[in-house]
């Protein structure tokens, strides 16, 4: 039986969809863990990225740190926090936030830094203050890239939230770890498929957000230069 057949057979069972630990509940848990982590990562990384992009200071440091950042093993961080902090929200939040910061930061920085200097001049020329320049010109122009960063971070976080189940939490990872322990490949496969579908849903959602949020002019510019 193929991986997908196992998954399909398991997903078909109505028992999986009703009750306390059922699929809808687990999906909500996964989204809950992910959403909060993404929010916090964005709150930290977006302003930082925008500032670095705008001032150009700290760019080298930020970009160099990203390499080191990417090498942090999420499992290791999670385990360390369990041993040091015990069970608190921070235990699963910190690894997920740490994971989400680099893509958001780097993309925000590159987006703002890549804004046409002519636009900056024009904004200064019309008398915009620095804040107005950033918020009304640079960020909107950098928006496509910022959204790409948020989307990448969202996918990383949603997928990695499966690992929260390793320390006894919920979410779709529960199916993978329980299935593993029970030699129930259907459960493992089903859980994996659900995570993928969720990640794809995030992809689609971000495409929608991009369509709505990015001004039509920028979208056309992108399409033309393809």
């Amino acid at each position: 039986m193929s991986f997908l057949t196992y998954a399909w057979n398991w997903l078909r069972q109505p028992a999986q969809w009703h009750g306390a630990g059922a699929i809808p509940a687990r999906i909500l848990e996964q989204l809950g863990y992910s959403g909060l982590a993404l929010l916090i990562a964005a709150v930290i990384a977006l302003p930082l990225g925008v500032v670095i992009g705008h001032t150009g200071r700290g760019a080298f440091l930020a970009v160099s740190l990203t390499s080191a950042w990417r090498s942090i093993p999420t499992l290791g961080l999670l385990v360390l926090l369990v041993v040091v902090l015990g069970f608190s929200a921070l235990t699963w939040l910190v690894p997920l936030v740490v994971l989400g910061i680099p893509p958001i930061l780097v993309n925000a920085y590159e987006g703002v830094a890549g804004v046409d200097p002519g636009l900056r001049d024009a904004a200064a020329g019309v008398g915009m203050t620095r804040w107005q320049q950033v918020l009304q010109v640079e960020v909107p122009v950098a928006l496509p890239l910022i959204i790409v960063g948020l989307r990448t971070a969202a996918i990383f976080i949603v997928s990695t939230a499966t690992i929260a189940a390793y320390i006894g939490l919920g979410g779709l990872g529960r199916y993978i770890f329980d299935g593993l322990a029970n030699n129930n490949y259907g459960e493992v496969a089903g859980g994996a498929v659900l995570v993928v579908l969720l990640a794809l849903a995030v992809l689609l959602l971000s495409a929608l957000v991009r369509h709505l949020a990015v001004p039509a002019g920028l979208r056309t510019q992108e399409r033309r230069s393809r």
Binding site: A20, V82, V83, G86, F87, I167, G168, R174, F177, D178, L180, A181, N182, N183, N184
Partner: protein, 310 residues
């Protein structure tokens, strides 16, 4: 000219050398050979262990003693739960693994078995194991599942036995390894023999820090804490009596792939089993888990103290 021929050639030569070097490195793998072919007969073995410290300690004891007897040993420790490694040993990808007779019988071999004593369990195992596997002599040492509560909880409800939990269960959450939910001597067994229906079940780990923290923090009110877990002593936990023997005997026993072992190996393992007591095992668990000593150090020390090959 931008790209001098020499610089490009140097670049190409460097990349070629890198690729060849890596390809050569790739040929010498650190894996224990093709896992689908059985271990080379008799002369060399693969000792595996499950994913909890006590089993790794036992595997280390086996491996050290066998190596001292001249057997070539490869170790494959910390694999996963029984449900992951059992198919591997069945086809000979692993040769030896320390097991617990009761759990092995109830989970992998014969779920309908009602054998409870060591003798009964071993007899059933010998009769029902697949042809490719066999179990050697059981050790006196047992590490059983249990229903364990905190000292405070036991005191409040004057608990000494699992049977007393029946009226309390519906307001309790039970914590155990994930496989406890489906294993016959697990949740189903407790329900059948004691009428326990818990409010909830939390899948945690193999009587490890997550289970213990959950029990101490009150996230679960009772948990499956294995009886040689040293924290039972250090945290003053209370393991409730099991008068109806839901949890069958759980003697430490070597499970081996028949074709992979010879007389030397069998005799060495049996000699180890003969000298392994529950007290000795608990002491070694405390040394490795609480005092953080190395598995190999503790294993070698015990073997020496017992006069076994080390």
């Amino acid at each position: 000219m931008y790209l001098t021929t020499r610089s490009v050639q140097r670049g190409s030569a460097a990349s070629l050398a890198l690729a060849v070097g890596l390809a050569l490195a790739a040929c010498s793998s650190s894996a224990p050979g093709n896992p689908l072919t059985p271990a080379a007969s008799s002369g060399s073995v693969i000792v595996g262990s499950a994913n909890f410290p006590e089993d790794e300690l036992l595997a280390q004891i086996y491996a050290t003693a066998l190596a001292a007897k001249g057997v070539t040993v490869t170790d494959q420790f910390s694999i996963g739960a029984r449900e992951v490694y059992y198919p591997e040993i069945e086809k000979g990808a692993i040769t030896i693994i320390p097991e617990y007779n009761g759990a092995l019988l109830a989970t992998a071999v014969d779920p309908s078995s009602t054998a409870a004593t060591t003798a009964q369990v071993d007899a059933q195992l010998k009769a029902r194991l697949p042809a490719s596997l066999e179990v050697l002599d059981p050790a006196p040492a047992q590490d059983k599942d249990s229903v364990t509560v905190t000292q405070a909880f036991a005191a409040r409800y004057h608990l000494t036995s699992i049977a007393q939990l029946k009226p309390l269960a519906p307001s309790m959450v039970f914590g155990a390894p994930p496989e406890f939910k489906t294993r016959p001597d697990g949740q189903a067994g407790l329900r059948k023999r004691y009428g326990l229906v818990f409010k909830g079940f939390d899948a945690l780990d193999e009587s490890g820090p997550i289970t213990l923290k959950a029990l101490m923090d009150g996230q679960v009110q009772a948990a499956d804490v294995f009886t040689t877990t040293p924290q039972i002593l250090t945290d003053h936990l209370v393991s409730l009596a099991d008068p109806k023997s839901d949890f069958a005997a759980q003697n430490v026993i070597p499970l081996v792939y028949r074709k992979g072992v010879n007389a030397t190996i069998v005799n060495t393992l049996n000699a180890i089993s003969a000298r392994l007591t529950t007290a000795g095992l608990l002491e070694m668990d405390k040394a490795t888990i609480v005092d953080h000593e190395n598995y190999s150090t503790v294993a070698t020390a015990w073997l020496k103290a017992e006069g076994l090959p080390s």
